[in-house]
């Protein structure tokens, strides 16, 4: 097809035929063609002089890349537990039946495909969906009817009512960061004044720790990168906010992008890096244009580019790379692989990114919120920054509050705030549990609500999902187990197979085939995941199940069919095909467990 050839050649050329741009090229080619047919992958491989298998390997890794045709309207319902609680499954079912399409399948006329996707980061205004990559929020039956009509009449998504795509910030509580009135460049001015060394000293004094979850001290990272061999250092902003229930980075990027880019530039000032990347999750692609505009404005203002703020030798600029639906790319080494245009498989550590990161260069990878916070350090000074928070967790923390509460949204608190306090502020009067830190975080039960949000007590990357007494903790855990089975990169044995086995056990219990020994098996598999996994995704994947089994065990026990043994499949249903083929329906054509009592 000459059309495809021209499209591929144009896009590859635009990216300098650079193999490290493979993922970006695949995304853009798909934008034009709709999917990535086999011949198209061959063309891309040829144009980049890459083995075809590598291109196919990358194309197959990301959820948002398709090897088969998808609908001209591609509707992805966010499948986080908070979306489910707001009725997403029923809405998806309703839309499917209105449009005569089965979930996960392409309609016969190629018009529409409808399925689920991992959390899209709209938990404060769900249920949400992505329609041709654009977020639609606050779905209800009325909106579903309207969408069905628009699809039927083949109205282009760009002509749909703007209100559908309205994404609110929902900032409910502002503290140091969200109340900041600093103008673009203010923080840089302050940091330049104290010199590169002085700036790093301020960062050390601030004791700022990473807001992405792991809590590594930012200054230590920066210093290690600065001191690493190699002049071509890199700053990466991890904007792959994929943790279910987290959406604070969305708000920072939408309304405080200058703080984030300024933070990246501050990191460049400290480390001497000249190259920066923002890795933006595919779900937040709707922010791309806005972010590009902010970058453009900063370049024009002399806050990016050569000689930043007139400082000779301070050269730094930022590119934005898109992800394409892979939670694991939030893991920093998987992110780097993805940034290099590869499958998002986490690397072996050591070596760490600070010495061997993007293309082997010394690289700092920081979370969006962490980078934004560095502007406060520059403006207030390290000591003043460290005056808020707790001994081991300085400064403030943005919480993404969602679930069963009156006022979901973004809350900024000094570290050390109690769970109780947050619940009170967000209007959660009947909470039985809080999932702090998202799917990989901790499930906090009612008797622990006195605990505090801080690295030394309840660490969290920002998610704060509230569950009231009407919710079933088993279903919460099951949702997260599904999530991890879907998002496992499949590199290491325990995570690839273990998350799938775990899903099998949870489905078995959910379908009423559970037996007591299954609980022991679940505990055994969770232990293997925890101990033997290659990266943080695998080792934290069992967290929700472990916590729920400890704190809400009866929700598992009440699903047990037997105390001894129960097959994972329905034996009678397994005879259905044979019954159909033979036309039999006599007593011997069925299997009834109850009639044959088991010891």
């Amino acid at each position: 097809m000459p059309g495809i050839e021209r499209c591929v050649s144009e896009i590859v050329t635009r990216h300098g035929a650079d193999p490290s741009q493979l993922l970006q090229i695949l995304i853009q080619v798909q934008d034009v063609i709709g999917y990535l047919p086999a011949d198209c992958l061959s063309l891309i491989a040829e144009a980049l002089d890459l083995p075809r298998a590598r291109v196919e390997g990358v194309a197959g890794f990301y959820s948002f890349l398709h090897s088969r045709p998808v609908g001209r309207y591609r509707i992805l319902f966010s499948d986080n537990i908070t979306d489910r609680m707001l009725g997403a499954p029923a809405l998806m079912q309703a839309l499917c039946s209105k449009l005569w399409v089965e979930p996960g399948k392409l309609s016969e006329d190629g018009l529409v495909s409808i399925t689920t996707t991992s959390c899209t980061g709209m938990c404060d205004q769900g249920p949400a969906a992505l329609i041709n990559g654009r977020p639609v929020t606050r779905l209800d039956h009325r909106r579903i009817n309207e969408i069905a009509e628009l699809v039927r009449q083949q109205v282009p998504v760009s002509a749909w009512p703007a209100a559908f795509f309205n994404v609110e910030d929902n900032i409910r509580r502002r503290d140091a960061l969200l109340a900041s009135t600093a103008a673009p460049g203010d923080a840089l001015r302050a940091a330049i004044r104290v010199g590169r060394e002085g700036w790093l000293t301020e960062m050390e004094r601030s004791r700022l720790r990473g807001r992405g979850g792991a809590g590594f001290t930012t200054a230590v990272k920066w210093k290690a990168c600065r001191d690493a061999d190699g002049a071509d250092k890199v700053i990466v902003c991890n904007a792959d906010e994929g943790e279910p229930g987290t959406f604070k980075d969305r708000v920072l990027l939408a309304s405080h992008a200058d703080l984030v880019f300024e933070g990246m530039t501050l990191a460049a000032w400290a480390t001497g890096a000249q190259k920066g990347f923002m890795y933006l999750r595919g779900e937040y692609r709707y922010l791309l244009e806005h972010l590009q505009a902010v970058l453009e404005r900063r370049r024009a203002a002399g806050l990016l580019g050569a000689g930043i703020r007139g400082q000779a030798g301070f050269d730094f600029d930022i590119d934005i790379h898109l992800g394409a639906g892979a939670y694991v790319c939030g893991e920093e080494t998987a992110l780097l692989e993805s940034l290099e245009g590869k499958r998002g498989t986490p690397r072996i550590r050591p070596p760490f990114p600070v010495t061997h990161g993007y293309l082997g260069r010394p690289t700092v990878v920081n979370n969006v919120e962490t980078l934004a916070k560095t502007t406060l350090v520059a403006l207030e000074g390290g000591e003043a920054f460290a005056a808020t928070g707790t001994a081991q967790s300085t400064g403030t923390k943005l919480l993404s509050v969602s679930g069963d509460c009156a006022y979901p949204g973004i809350y900024e608190y000094p570290f050390g705030v109690s769970i109780e306090r947050v619940l009170e502020d967000c209007g959660a009067s009947d909470a039985q549990a809080v999932q702090a830190g998202g799917a990989s975080g901790v499930l906090i039960a009612g008797y622990e609500f006195h605990r505090r949000v801080a690295f030394e007590d309840v660490p969290t990357a920002g998610a704060f999902m509230v569950f009231d007494s009407g919710r079933d903790a088993f279903e919460i855990a099951r949702n997260f187990v599904d999530f991890f089975a879907h998002e496992s990169c499949g590199f290491c044995t325990p995570c690839r197979v273990g998350t799938s086995l775990l899903k099998g056990y949870m489905d078995k219990l959910a379908s009423g085939h559970g037996a007591k020994p299954d609980l022991a098996d679940i505990e055994w598999v969770t232990r293997l995941l925890k101990n033997a996994s290659h990266c943080g995704l695998g080792s934290s994947a069992p967290n929700p199940v472990i916590d729920t089994l400890v704190k809400f065990r009866p929700t598992f026990e009440r699903r047990l069919e037997s105390l001894h043994f129960e097959p994972a499949f329905d034996l009678d249903a397994a005879l259905a095909t044979a019954r159909r083929i033979t036309g039999r329906d006599d007593a011997a054509a069925h299997l009834d467990r109850k009639k044959e009592t088991q010891r």
Binding site: E56, I348, W524, L528
Partner: protein, 234 residues
């Protein structure tokens, strides 16, 4: 002065840059592995080589040895976990040994013998990945793949052909060949490639050499893998 760490209670000397696996092997200690290969950098996917260092599990193939480390390897706890990892590999594939030409020469099977794995314990997934018999000399039985990527690495780094790659992810991850048709016969793969001779299990097989050595007289029928593997070290 030689630097040492403790391996199952015994001192093991190591040189700078050596991993736990390399140093332990040089000192005569076998650690189970599937994706590790002496001629390639560590890969770390199979996790059979997990050991415990200071209470934490690590991949011994990838972690550099350090002075004074206390490494636990051949313990009931670690071996039980390794056995479970083998069981996971067995249920995710279709490992019907009696019909496999690799039986007796298969490292997955040999490790199962070594670690006394008598059953796969978990529920079988029964994958359905079609066999590729398009190549004149070689056969691909994808249902036995353990994702060690030795063929991927050998073909890319040694043969310079990049015939293989993995695509998709999670439990749906699978091996593909570098051809638009998806057929091995349409690649420049050759029976003399390193990649054609490195598969530790029965995915990449030669045609027309079936059962030249009878079952019962093959490598791991004669000796346990712990012995065979360490003889190669000498």
């Amino acid at each position: 002065m030689t630097r040492r760490f403790m391996f199952d209670g015994q001192p093991v000397a190591f040189e700078d840059g050596q991993t736990i696996m390399e140093a332990a092997r040089a000192a005569g200690h076998f650690i189970p592995y599937l994706c590790w290969h002496p001629d390639f950098p560590p890969h770390g996917s199979c996790k059979l080589c997990i050991v415990k260092v200071g209470g934490r599990h690590v991949s011994s193939c990838a972690l550099p040895a350090k002075e004074g480390m206390e490494v636990e390897s051949n313990t009931p706890e670690i071996n039980a976990e390794r056995r479970a990892l083998l069981q996971m590999l067995f249920v995710e594939g279709n490992h019907f040994c009696p019909s496999c030409e690799k039986s007796g020469n298969c490292q997955l099977q040999a490790l199962a013998y070594e670690l006394e794995m008598t059953s796969a314990r978990f529920n079988h997934i029964f994958p359905d990945r079609p066999v590729d018999a398009s190549h004149p000399d070689m056969l691909l039985e994808f249902n036995r793949c353990i994702f060690c990527e030795l063929c991927v690495r050998a073909s890319r780094d040694v043969d310079k052909k990049s015939v293989f790659s993995l695509t998709n992810r999670g439990i749906h991850k699978h091996l593909v060949v570098s051809a638009e048709s998806g057929r091995l016969g349409d690649t420049d793969f050759s029976r003399d490639d390193l990649a054609a001779n490195i598969c530790p299990v029965g995915v990449i097989l030669r045609k027309r050499v079936g059962f030249a050595v009878p079952i019962g007289q093959r490598i791991y029928d004669e000796k346990p893998i712990s012995q065979v593997s360490m003889e190669a070290e000498k």
